[in-house]
């Protein structure tokens, strides 16, 4: 039973495939065209029909072409009029000559004034049409300009937002970089300080009392020779040598200076040197 259903289904599917390949879809534009173009053809304004000799439709001439060639219609016309005249179906009474003069007048007017009048009328038609369309075209132009304006506005606002975001990201990145730089600077400073402290501590620790004494003696010798300015010594060495603080010695120099007579020789000792040598004894 089931197998039969399956078979039927398969058969149906096959036939469906066949159907779809065989028949073009009804929704394709081609099918619609073949069915309904004649029904849905809207009337459109035509171009003026072509005429010859001023008023005879072109089709009446081309009708002859297949059988007679291009001279056929004229031959036919001349033949027909000859026939009508010779049989006097067309009678040349007084009205004919009247008509002839009227025809001549019409011919001259058309040939002489026709082109100018046509030009003038064409221009009038164009003016009329542009006037009729002016409201529409103005409206269109206005709307187009509005669209352009709107687009520009949107663009500028988007551009402003873009620049704002760009600035924001720039400042954020700069902040982070500044932080990194500052951190590195601080780390380096601390490391340097630590190193200096460590070296100083080690050096101070390595100096024995013996060495210190020797150093002080050396310094004393130097001072006595008056080589260097003792004020440039370290405070601790200064006190060791002169038993006073620098400020104290300065005060002493100020107080004693006016009372000490400075020598006139070029090698004479200055006031400070005298006080230093006295203190260092």
């Amino acid at each position: 039973m089931l197998s039969r259903v399956g078979f039927l289904k398969g058969h149906q599917a096959k036939s469906l495939v066949y159907f779809t390949t065989k028949c073009p879809s009804t929704t394709t534009p081609d099918a619609v065209k073949t069915d309904d173009t004649s029904l849905f053809r809207r009337p459109v304004r035509q171009e003026p029909g072509k005429v010859r000799l001023g008023f005879l439709p072109e089709e009446w001439f081309t009708f002859f072409y297949k059988k007679t060639g291009v001279t056929g219609p004229y031959t036919f016309g001349v033949g027909l009029s000859t026939y009508l005249l010779s049989k006097e179906y067309y009678v040349l009474e007084h009205e004919f000559y009247n008509g002839l003069s009227l025809f001549l007048l019409c011919f001259i007017v058309v040939k002489k004034f026709g082109p100018a009048i046509a030009k003038y009328l064409d221009k009038e038609i164009d003016n009329y049409e542009t006037e009729m369309n002016s409201g529409r075209t103005n409206e269109k132009e206005m709307l187009e300009s509005q669209i352009k304006n709107e687009e520009h506005n949107q663009w500028s606002s988007e551009e402003a937002a873009y620049r704002n975001r760009l600035m924001q990201s720039y400042s954020e990145v700069k902040k982070r970089l500044d932080y990194q730089m500052e951190r590195q600077n601080v780390e380096r400073r601390i490391a340097q300080k630590h190193l200096v402290n460590w070296v100083l501590k080690n050096v101070l620790a390595s100096i024995t009392t013996e060495q210190e004494k020797q150093n002080i003696d050396k310094c004393k010798m130097k001072k006595c020779k008056g080589g260097e300015d003792p004020f440039h010594m370290r405070e601790i060495d200064f006190q060791n040598v002169f038993r006073l603080s620098r400020d104290g010695v300065r005060h002493l120099v100020e107080v004693l200076g006016p009372h000490l007579v400075s020598g006139e020789r070029s090698t004479a000792l200055s006031v400070e040197s005298k006080i230093f040598s006295a203190l260092a004894f």
Partner: protein, 107 residues
């Protein structure tokens, strides 16, 4: 169908705007393509009521209007066509009188 109504076959939904130059019924073979042997049957199929004839003339008139008078840059041709048409028409209706003005006895 009263006077001034659209043809019965015309359906605005199906055909769009009304075109007075168009025949909305079922199209038969155009006269120009009818073979001589079929002419009798073709004529017998025509609707010869005065209404249909008037409609036919009206369609022809509008076809002529669309082709020569209504275009945007129509020329002077339709005026001459009308004049010629009137000339022929009046010549034909006056032929009985005009024929007395013949100049020759034998042709």
């Amino acid at each position: 169908m009263a006077l001034g109504d659209y043809p019965i076959e015309y359906d605005a939904k199906k055909h769009g705007p009304y075109d007075p130059a168009r025949y909305y019924g079922k199209a038969d073979t155009p006269l120009a393509q009818v073979k001589l042997g079929e002419l009798g049957s073709w004529l017998s199929r025509r609707n010869k009521s005065p209404q249909a004839m008037a409609a036919c003339v009206s369609r022809a008139w509008w076809r002529w209007q669309h082709k020569y008078v209504q275009p945007k840059r129509a020329g002077v041709a339709p005026i001459f066509q009308l004049i010629t048409g009137f000339m022929v028409f009046f010549y034909v209706i006056n032929y009985g009188r005009i024929s007395h003005h013949r100049n020759y006895k034998y042709h």
